[in-house]
Symmetry: C2
Subunit: 327 residues, 2 copies
């Protein structure tokens, strides 16, 4: 049995807990929280919840610690800290800061002899893996990543910070026409506006100036100004009834040419359609937690990403079973 | 530079040659053929063509030998034979015989200290990899593989063996309705007939009994009897004009459930749309030839499949570059 710990218990932590329950070779040993442990109710029976301050007393009781904090403030501190004491895995998703995070985690985990996986999930994660594979196969080609339809937490939060807004939910939606052009192998050059639209469902305070709010959303730099944005004002009840899920997904497409005269076109498409973004991310993480455990057992150490893991390490099956049943 | 040899020069061998030309870190050293070498004309300038009997004299001049023979008779003999002298890679695609082929190749390559990759292409190959990855992520789910629309060489050959048939081309076509049900997450149980149809374009000899030919095709066991099959009789000119390409492709879909009560559905879809089956297969092989070279350099040996290769090994870029640009 692979003994797993969860560090941070929000949507992602709960997803990891559920995913562990689907994998018979794994067991959840403990959940660590910054809140009062008695206030945290798990999905599973019989698993202890502890304050994060107690984590080091579990040093020999946990094979892989899954970090479920945020990329902005939690993981840059927590992952290097815990990698000194545990094999760890996180879903650090600030793309621009991955090299820095890698260096920090690599230094500590190498010194401690632990395996530390970072940036595991679907983007970064499975989408990255598919960009790598497709690019190595179709050397002469172009890459496209479309996100959605799905909820962007960051954009929803940005709307909530506008004066007069009570609550909001933002969907990122790929432009179907652009997708079709890519799928046809046209290899178009697409602007930000041509790739995605943004749709916002906003609950305003009573008496708020709706046209000011709409204008502030649509002109917000970085978040909305470069997109065609639609704003719908709805009631709190409608928001809770119709927009409480956390669906997401997207598609990575590579279109490339082969042949003596580049006469043949090929399209590789990897598409995710997810009812629950955190539960799918958690499922990816748990599969790679198994790989983390395997790599440690093999005597490896240091920081790893999805690029470094032989796919067979994700599976509880033997090489022989995999070749017989899946190859 | 990675020095590559091609053993067998048909459609696949020519595809490998073109793919090597797209990869600046690789160079084609020699092509080996069973035919008279002077009768073989390559796409590239300045590369020697040799009879297969001369292959051992290239022992220290080739880093990876790419085997481009057939799975029925060539590869079961050639791959173990050459794995004693070279690092090799093949596209052995008789799924049921992969375990046996693996054992034969593993024994020889381990003894010789060579790396030998087998069954590289898209199915087996990239489709297998996606079945493995998706199954490890969505543990509670169902797998679907659809092939086509594309030309099946084996089925085309089977038609050509019927008396009165001059030439033929067979397309395998996924049933759109079944595909849509899978994509909607219905996880249906599908019979052979419900998944694919077969469309045949047949050139008959003058005076042949067309209804007998049609009947023989549609009732042919294993090949056509379990499918809804359409037969079109056309002229040799029409066949050459409209059906000379070798397109193929297909899709691997996994649909799975997560959450406390399995309340969330997720779909992972990997889709290939290929103008040229052999050129795409060749492009996959050449990327894995780089991995073969890397594994050998690291001191590994023995038989490997796509399941064993860390994805970063496929790329000429460094780990740092990959993390910065693709993760």
């Amino acid at each position: 049995m692979i003994r797993v710990g969860i560090f941070g218990y929000g949507n992602l932590g709960r997803g990891v807990e559920c995913a562990i329950n689907q994998n018979p070779d794994m067991t959840l040993v403990a959940v660590f929280t910054r809140r009062d442990p008695s206030s945290v109710k798990l999905v599973s029976q019989g698993v202890g919840v502890y304050h994060v301050d107690e984590v080091l007393s579990f040093k020999d009781k946990i094979d892989v610690m899954v970090l479920c904090g945020g990329s902005a403030k939690d993981l840059p501190v927590q992952t290097p800290y815990l990698a000194e004491h545990f094999c760890v895995i996180d879903s650090f998703d600030t793309h621009a800061k991955i090299p820095e995070h890698f260096e920090n985690v690599d230094r500590v985990s190498k010194k401690a002899g632990n395996v530390a996986m970072i940036s595991v999930g679907w983007d970064p994660g499975m989408f990255s893996l598919n960009r790598l594979l497709a690019g190595c196969i179709l050397v002469d080609g172009a890459d496209y990543t479309f996100w959605g339809k799905g909820v962007s937490q960051g954009h929803s939060d940005a709307i909530r910070r506008i004066e007069g807004v009570l609550d909001a939910r933002q969907y990122t939606i790929p432009v179907e026409d652009a997708l079709e052009r890519v799928r046809r192998g046209e290899a178009p050059t697409l602007t930000t506006r041509e790739k995605h639209t943004r749709e916002c469902f906003v609950v305003a305070c009573e008496g708020a100036d709706l046209s000011r709010i709409e204008n502030e959303i649509k002109t917000m730099p970085n978040y909305f100004a470069d997109y065609d944005t639609t704003v719908h004002f709805i009631t709190k009840e409608e928001l809770d009834r119709d927009h409480s899920g956390i669906p997401h997904g997207g598609v990575v497409i590579r279109s490339g040419k082969t042949g003596k005269e580049r006469e043949n076109t090929h399209i590789i498409e990897y598409k995710l359609t997810l009812d629950s973004n955190p539960e799918f991310t958690a499922s990816v993480i748990v599969a790679y937690a198994r790989a983390t455990y395997r790599m440690k057992k093999e005597g490896l150490c240091g920081c790893k990403t999805v690029f470094d893991v032989p796919p067979a390490y994700l599976s509880p099956l033997s090489g022989e079973e995999l070749r017989r049943n899946l190859l």
